[in-house]
Symmetry: C2
Subunit: 306 residues, 2 copies
């Protein structure tokens, strides 16, 4: 599917290499921003680092870095925000994997945080990662304008709380085994994963003090990209192997999870992901060739694993 | 013990009434700031409200309100910050009570959040309360100056993360059953409960854009008050009844928890709390009679239950 409707310039972009490049920057930032202390709290920070530094594509960090570049934001600022978003994402994974939640022993091919440490430590590590993310965003080193910092904090709070990520996870758990409509599944996923992906793109526009209409385009891109990504992820869960995707495959179906794949089947779900990815890219028409990596990413997220 | 060394003006202050007055304001603010949504995430917000609106002295909210009044901060601003701090405190209690942590079925005489709902919901409610607290602090309605809002966010992140509340809880769990020195116990408690109490006082000074030295006095007051409060709380745990304190009594000793009471015995621990409370009050000499309720509070926290 890769390349459908893509220009030569886009096809020439090596998205995995671009992801890897930013991932290295973001890993480095996280490493610096989570120094190991002495004392008995060292175990906590070890768990925070384990949960956050375990690799991964760093899709969210990539979005912060690329959108920031579009608005000529200093790389160091963007990297701090990218690190903060990845800390939030990591905290949510550490908590979602807990026995009382999704009860998953594997994450990125490694023992999940509560398996490597213990439940209490995994809960506390998630809690402390969240606190650290907000602390970093509000710090003067993140942006010289305190209003930009406040916007970063307020928008992250909204994207990750009851009206965002945590709300989505609650819906997911509360409706397990129930038949949801297509609209309900779409809303569940928009909250659970969409809002934080959208935030990641918007954060670059906030850092760049982008004008309202440009910020709205970026937000719409992030929203549709997030939706496309989630459906593609559910397709991978349905057709992939545990080894290939680094986490337990086939879990959604086994758990009776409401996904677009469960509702529409693999082929129609895949087609919808492709449609959403094209729609995401179309929100970028106001931007020049500097947005090509974001355009190529939209294609990439729906063609992984094929 | 009440009244030792206190002037007539201080003795005339009815601290429980003052606490109740601010508690009503803070409860009202929390109620407004956590509206119940429709949809399946309603359960999450119900749990957030259950964890936060269950009563309690609202010591942290009181500190925000009283220190804010000292610096002529608008009551509505102070109430928002007080609500945010109480949300953070409530999230920490909901998580601390979990089976994998302190495994406590009772909180303020009621089933703890995971007993009233379930573990997953209690974890998510805590997560979402934390996100909401930071979101509120960064919001323009909290303070007109974005720099003040950033300071509130950054200081709360520091007070509640690995170098504060979460770090303290980690130390507490990691050292259970171990013999700690007096210095180690003091540091554990400074992180676990002291930092957030100190923050509560400081937040009022941040809201009031207090000059550096005045803010430092308030911070020192909060630090010593927090230390006094924690020791007094441990004394209550050792000598109180489950009915009287609204949570399971005698748990510290049963769990082999390191407390000042365990190290020094009840009487010497109580004497140390009194000493710290006097020290807290002495940090307020730069302030006039408007700080009398804060002075009276210092006496009150070490004379509860006698």
């Amino acid at each position: 599917m890769t390349g459908h409707g893509m220009t030569g310039a886009l096809m020439a972009i090596d998205v995995p290499a671009a992801l890897a490049e930013h991932a290295a920057t973001v890993e480095q930032a996280i490493d610096t921003l989570l120094p190991l202390p002495d004392g008995h709290e060292r175990r906590l920070v070890k768990a925070m680092r384990y949960a956050t530094l375990g690799g991964g594509k760093r899709l969210r960090g990539f979005l912060v870095m690329e959108v920031s570049a579009l608005f000529s934001v200093a790389r160091a600022s963007a990297a701090r925000v990218a690190a903060s978003v990845e800390m939030m994402h990591a905290y949510s994974l550490a908590h979602d994997d807990l026995p009382s939640m999704d009860d998953d022993d594997l994450r990125r091919g490694q023992p999940s945080t509560h398996r490597r440490f213990d439940e209490a430590t995994a809960i506390l590590a998630g809690d402390a990662l969240q606190a650290r993310a907000f602390e970093l965003l509000a710090d003067v080193n993140t942006h010289s304008d305190p209003l930009a910092r406040c916007e970063l904090v307020a928008a992250l709070g909204l994207a990750s709380g009851s009206r965002g990520m945590a709300g989505g996870q609650m819906i997911d758990m509360a409706t397990e085994g129930q038949a949801l409509t297509h609209d309900e599944v779409t809303r569940l996923q928009a909250l659970k994963t969409g809002r934080l992906i959208q935030y990641s793109a918007e954060a670059g526009a906030i850092l760049g003090r982008a004008a309202g209409p440009l910020r709205a385009h970026i937000a719409a891109y992030g929203r549709d990209l997030g939706a496309a990504f989630q459906i593609a992820d559910d397709v991978l869960d349905a057709v992939g192997t545990t080894e290939g995707i680094g986490k337990t495959a086939g879990k959604d179906k086994a758990a009776g999870k409401a996904t677009v794949v469960a509702l529409l089947g693999v082929e129609r779900a895949r087609a919808q992901a492709v449609m959403l990815a094209s729609q995401a890219a179309r929100h970028l028409t106001a931007f020049d060739g500097r947005a090509d990596r974001l355009r190529a990413l939209a294609d990439y997220v729906v063609s992984r694993g094929h």
